[in-house]
Symmetry: C2
Subunit: 132 residues, 2 copies
């Protein structure tokens, strides 16, 4: 398979696939013309990577997960530990975003949004915490 085909079959852009080769996540062979020659196992890895990335795992997490995926003697506890850590990180981010959302939606609601300069949003950012 050329890169175009693995791209459409994996859903990853060719650029991303080349990048993944650069950083050693996949190692396609090469044809005599210099083109990358992907095998089915390369495609599987790329699909794996696409899914892991879609779940928000970092590239380095993906690297470890991929090595566990290929390691027949892995312990599922290792996989679970990585996933749990990532889950905690997601939870933390959600909490942060919800806090931002709460503050900001409050401010947005308290702003007239008209042609006058008076603005509780700016007041708050300026540190005046215009009580509301």
């Amino acid at each position: 398979m050329n890169i175009g085909e693995v791209a459409s079959r994996s859903g990853l852009p060719p650029k991303t696939i080349r990048y993944y080769e650069d950083i050693g996540l996949v190692r396609p062979q090469r044809g005599s013309n210099g083109y990358r020659a992907f095998r089915e196992t390369d495609l599987h890895k790329l699909i794996f990577l696409g899914r892991a990335r879609a779940l928000g795992f970092s590239i380095e997490d993906c690297r470890v997960l991929l090595s566990l995926y290929e390691d027949e003697s892995r312990e599922s506890a290792q996989v679970k530990a990585i996933a749990q850590q990532h889950l905690s990180a997601i939870e933390e981010k959600i909490t942060q975003l919800q806090a931002m959302h709460a503050t900001l939606s409050h401010l947005v609601n308290s702003c007239h949004g008209d042609d006058r300069p008076d603005c509780p949003i700016l007041n708050d950012l300026a540190g005046q915490a215009a009580g509301g």
Copy 2:
């Protein structure tokens, strides 16, 4: 004020303040020794920036918000529009993260996490969607 003082008063690291000067968000004067000389207004701007960044606004948003903050003839509608856009972006991110969380927590719960290689997390990433 030297950079150390504005740093502790604004809560921003000196590195970040220098960076903000680099990209033109603040323009402190200079003393004869070459040190940055911050005025109160510079401090206010930095506090403003710190709060806006804490609410997740991008640097470019901050740049616009800061110019509105300094523009006596602004219309609060402009500020509100930026804030609302950002609020939507936050909501979108939360939704994405919640989707990740749902999928991942399901997978984590279905994984034994013991010394055996069998792992529903890896199965799912590999695209086998081990029904469960």
